[in-house]
């Protein structure tokens, strides 16, 4: 699925800023690297009303004050503008016109046959919703990753329309000025189930990325568990050593008690008592640690794995009702001297919707197995090669 984000270059920044400011009623006088912006009092914006100077490009933050702002991809002013514009009208309507360029399917584009003409006849008006989702993925071992993805769903059939989502992205670049029209017809009740479907489709589409990050997080957790296990093992060894030292000291003292004179016996007994209690304490710690080791340190494991778990946050940011048309398309194909017209199901913005098979071998025509000839039916590349 295509990344829906747009790279923020200086020229894009300026293009967007100028259009946005003018659209909310500001006027701009441009001179070299400065823009003088007037924000009328009745303008609905968070930007302070009155006159401002925008300086193009980067510079020291000191240049920023109430009336003078920097304009570049990371400038505070531009970020504020984006927030404001993003929240202004998160839902709306957009039409994909039938006159927009007709794109022949990849199995024709990659094949050996040329398209002489293409004629689209729309039969039905259809509606879809396109949702822009922000997907935030966070783990302890990775920086937060943010993805922006567009998902398109037909409102009636709830089928996924990936091609329409791509067309949507193509028609909403910063270069495009007038792609929206009219007010949204869909109601909350219509949209709720569609949004559910869109969420599911979204998760399917980012599954690959989630899996990759999941694998990395698991590896990080595993190595932390292993490190902990080794550390505890080392501790066990140290305790065991101490344990056996104490044990032999106690034995030595017992020997003394059996053989020594009265005074040294009493002294040795006292010492042995102290050592024995130390020994018992150690014994307990050691046993406990060994038990935890034998059961695989379950608490610690759980704690580590919980810490490494992936937190995925899905936020729908914009919702667009898209009108498109469905009908049939006639491709007139030329193969040498042979002309052949093929009629296929088609939708504006979604392209050819039919699956077409080779008339000889019944294999599906695809980008990799394109149309090779139209003489005597539509034949695929594999058939011709095998001949």
């Amino acid at each position: 699925m295509t990344d829906a984000s747009i790279s923020v270059t200086q020229s894009v920044v300026e293009q967007f800023t100028e259009r946005y400011l003018r659209s909310i009623g500001c006027s701009i006088e441009r001179s070299d690297d400065r823009w003088l912006v007037s924000v009328p009092d009745d303008t609905d914006t968070e930007i302070t009303h009155g006159r401002h100077t925008l300086i193009r490009g980067e510079g020291t933050p000191d240049d920023d004050d109430d009336r003078t702002k920097r304009l570049h991809p990371e400038s505070a002013f531009f970020q504020q503008l984006l927030r404001e514009a993003g929240e202004r009208s998160p839902s709306g309507k957009l039409s994909i016109e039938s006159e927009s360029d007709i794109e022949s399917p990849e199995w024709i584009q990659n094949g050996a046959v040329e398209v002489q003409s293409a004629q689209f006849t729309p039969y039905y008006d259809r509606t879809a919703i396109v949702v822009l989702f922000r997907v935030g993925i966070e783990t302890v071992s990775e920086y937060q990753q943010e993805l922006l993805r567009a998902v398109a769903v037909d409102t009636r059939s709830e089928e996924s329309l990936p091609k329409l989502a791509e067309t949507f992205l193509d028609t909403t670049t910063v270069e495009s000025e007038t792609a929206t029209s009219g007010t949204v017809q869909l109601t909350k009740t219509d949209v709720r189930p569609l949004l559910e479907t869109a969420r599911e489709l979204l998760l399917e589409s980012v599954q690959g990325q989630l899996d990759d990050i999941h694998r990395e997080a698991s590896r990080a957790a595993d190595s932390e568990v292993e490190e902990y296990r080794q550390m505890q093992q080392q501790r066990i060894q140290e305790l065991q050593e101490e344990h056996s030292n104490l044990s032999s000291k106690i034995n030595d003292l017992s020997e003394k008690i059996n053989t020594g004179d009265e005074d040294s016996r009493v002294q040795a007994l006292r010492e042995r008592k102290e050592l024995k209690s130390e020994y018992e304490e150690l014994d307990e710690t050691l046993n406990e640690l060994q038990e935890r080791r034998d059961s695989g340190f379950p608490n610690r494991q759980r704690e580590i794995r919980e810490r490494h778990s992936l937190d995925v946050q899905v936020t729908p940011l914009t919702l667009t009702e898209v009108e498109y048309e469905r009908g049939e398309i006639d491709f007139e194909l030329i193969d040498g001297s042979i002309h052949q017209t093929v009629t296929l199901g088609y939708g504006s913005g979604i392209g050819v919707s039919d699956t077409v098979r080779c008339s000889s071998c019944e294999r599906e025509l695809t980008e990799r197995n394109p149309l090779q000839t139209v003489s005597d039916g539509l034949k695929c590349q594999s058939c011709i090669k095998e001949r």
Binding site: I6, G92, V184, R305
Partner: protein
């Protein structure tokens, strides 16, 4: 690993209420499109960030903040024409690697020419490959044809300016030119300067730790190559920035402002680089009488053969090096020579050397190596030691010997594929024990997890020694590093070690210092290895030899002192990039 599915994924769907509420609101025409665009821009990256950073292999290269910063500024604030003038050892090569990586990522590098001093060309090639995955052809590679036959070339500047290649180099429009040790072109009357002046390129990155070698004019020349016109004409520059008695600067602030447009200079104290201590333990051993006899025989043979036929220099040099590495290495070469070449002069001498080799039953260095590894086994984490030798035959014998003593051993040499090499390093880290490596290891591999290194034999090229040490003593090494050098008494190795390497404090050099000394030497037209060999075979007596090596050491020391002085001078001049109090 077993725990793959033990780590949870928790998906939270943020509420869509606000979004649904907005369905009923009437937006102005076009405002929804702007909202979509704004959301898409918010998710986008500023286009002037280093987008290739994420592509880098973190294990291959650890980037430091000042390096990333320098690469960014050179590319985006200086429009791809910059003088990178960090103090030595701060990783100027890394900065250029990042710049080239980024240009590669943005596909603005169809043809790249890197000009370096001859000694550093291969090192550049290895670093760019290992650390940045960038493949360059070097003019010393067999596959190198000419300057119009490849798109990514590393060459010595003198090869590029040679009569044979000059025109081809100049006929081409290069996308990127990198010039290492840019002070080479400080003098406008040299062929080198002329070459760079005539070269056609879109982007250029010049590197030097010492932009000023003698006088401010040096800086004028280097900068003017990069940004013609930045300083105006030579005369104007002089009148404007240097006072009449030619000793002090005037208009410093302005000089600094202009330099800021083209030059980046990081200073060590401004970075967070902190190296651990390095302890050098040089051990010289008495050879056994048999070994001494063999050494004498080989040296006599080399001297005699060389006086008759200087064309055999390389192989004679090899014999001289092998005899101090191990008899078995020597044996292999001699046998090959005897049996491959039927019309060999001095065959009888070689035969008798073979006999001497066969008589040797104790190899002193190998016996003494056991002391070191045993000590390590008792005192160091997992007993990890790296033993370097130049020769595969020596390597094999050591491996066998150590294995028979019960040590865990790992072999690393140039014959392994790169995935095998990676596996070997991984095994060594996990299992510990001893890694016996040839100098194939020297290329860009990081072994900071080990802190003991043994030089079983010593390369006659100090750059190689530095590369060996650089494998373990680098950024990221947390423990002190111990280097053991092994040499036999009264052999060439002892001379190289005692009289040369120790004199220039080779083993205590901080990374990068050496290249400035060596490139100075090279500028005077000397190859280190050749010089050692020539002195060795030319000496008439032991006293002569000692004096010769001392003389060479004096030269080296002088170069080192000069390099130090220059660095100090430049530090002073550019202090904090603040050129000091203006006297105007």
């Amino acid at each position: 690993m077993s725990g793959y599915d033990l780590v949870d994924i928790e998906v939270t769907h943020e509420s869509a209420d606000d979004l649904l509420d907005s369905l009923s609101e009437d937006g102005t025409d076009g405002s929804h499109l702007q909202s979509i665009q704004a959301v898409r821009l918010q998710a986008g990256q500023p286009d002037s960030e280093l987008r290739s950073l994420k592509e880098l292999d973190e294990n291959a290269v650890k980037l430091l903040e000042h390096q990333v910063d320098a690469a960014y500024r050179a590319l985006f604030e200086m429009d791809g024409k910059a003088l990178l003038a960090d103090e030595v050892g701060l990783g100027k090569t890394i900065e250029v690697g990042m710049i080239l990586k980024e240009m590669h990522f943005r596909e603005t590098d169809e043809s790249v020419l890197i000009l370096t001093p001859a000694q550093l060309a291969k090192q550049w090639q290895a670093e760019l490959r290992e650390k940045f995955g960038l493949d360059f052809v070097c003019n010393y590679d067999d596959e190198f044809e000419d300057f119009d036959a490849h798109n990514y070339i590393i060459a010595s500047i003198d090869t590029a300016k040679s009569e044979r290649h000059r025109q081809t180099v100049l006929d081409r429009d290069w996308d990127v030119l990198v010039l290492d040790e840019a002070h080479y072109v400080k003098n406008e009357e040299t062929d080198r300067y002329d070459l760079i002046d005539r070269l056609s390129y879109n982007y250029a990155f010049f590197l030097t730790a010492t932009p000023i070698q003698n006088e401010l004019t040096d800086l004028y020349n280097v900068v003017s190559l990069l940004r013609p016109g930045l300083f105006g004409t030579r005369d104007v520059f002089h009148h404007y920035f240097v006072n009449s008695n030619q000793e002090t600067l005037v208009n410093r602030d302005e000089l600094q402002d202009r330099l800021n447009k083209v030059m980046i200079r990081n200073r060590r104290e401004d970075t967070d680089i902190d190296f651990t201590d390095r302890t050098i333990d040089t051990r010289t051993f008495d050879p056994t009488p048999k070994e001494r006899e063999l050494y004498q025989a080989v040296s006599d043979y080399v001297k005699g053969a060389y006086s008759q036929d200087q064309g055999q220099k390389l192989v004679l040099m090899l014999l001289q090096k092998e005899v101090v590495s191990s008899p078995v290495a020597l044996k292999k070469t001699i046998e090959k020579r005897l049996y491959d070449q039927s019309e060999l002069t001095h065959a009888d001498e070689l035969e008798s050397i073979l006999d001497l080799i066969d008589e040797i039953d104790t190899v002193t260095k190998q016996e003494r190596l056991l002391d070191i590894v045993e000590e390590a086994r008792d005192n160091v984490e997992m007993g990890r030691v790296i033993v370097f030798t130049q020769f595969r035959a020596t390597q094999q014998q050591i491996l066998d010997r150590l294995a028979s003593e019960g040590y865990t051993v790992h072999a690393f040499h140039g014959g392994h594929s790169s995935s095998e090499k990676e596996q070997i390093v991984e095994d060594f880290e996990e299992e510990g024990g001893i890694l016996v490596s040839t100098d194939a290891m020297s290329e860009g591999r990081n072994l900071q997890f080990c802190n003991i290194l043994v030089n079983l034999d010593l390369p006659w090229n100090p750059m190689r020694v530095e590369q060996r040490i650089g494998r373990v003593h680098r950024i990221g090494q947390k423990r002190d590093v111990f280097i053991f050098n092994m040499a036999l008494k009264d052999t060439v190795e002892e001379y190289v070690l005692e009289r040369l390497y120790h004199k220039i404090d080779l083993f205590q050099q901080s990374v990068g210092e050496l290249s400035s000394i060596l490139s100075r030497l090279e500028e005077s037209g000397t190859s280190f290895e050749d010089e050692i060999f020539e002195r060795l075979v030319a000496a008439d007596s032991e006293v002569d030899l000692e004096n010769d090596f001392d003389a060479m050491a004096v030269d080296l020391q002088e170069q080192r002192e000069l390099a130090d002085k220059l660095e100090e001078f430049n530090s002073g001049v550019f202090e904090g990039f603040d050129l000091g109090e203006s006297d105007d």
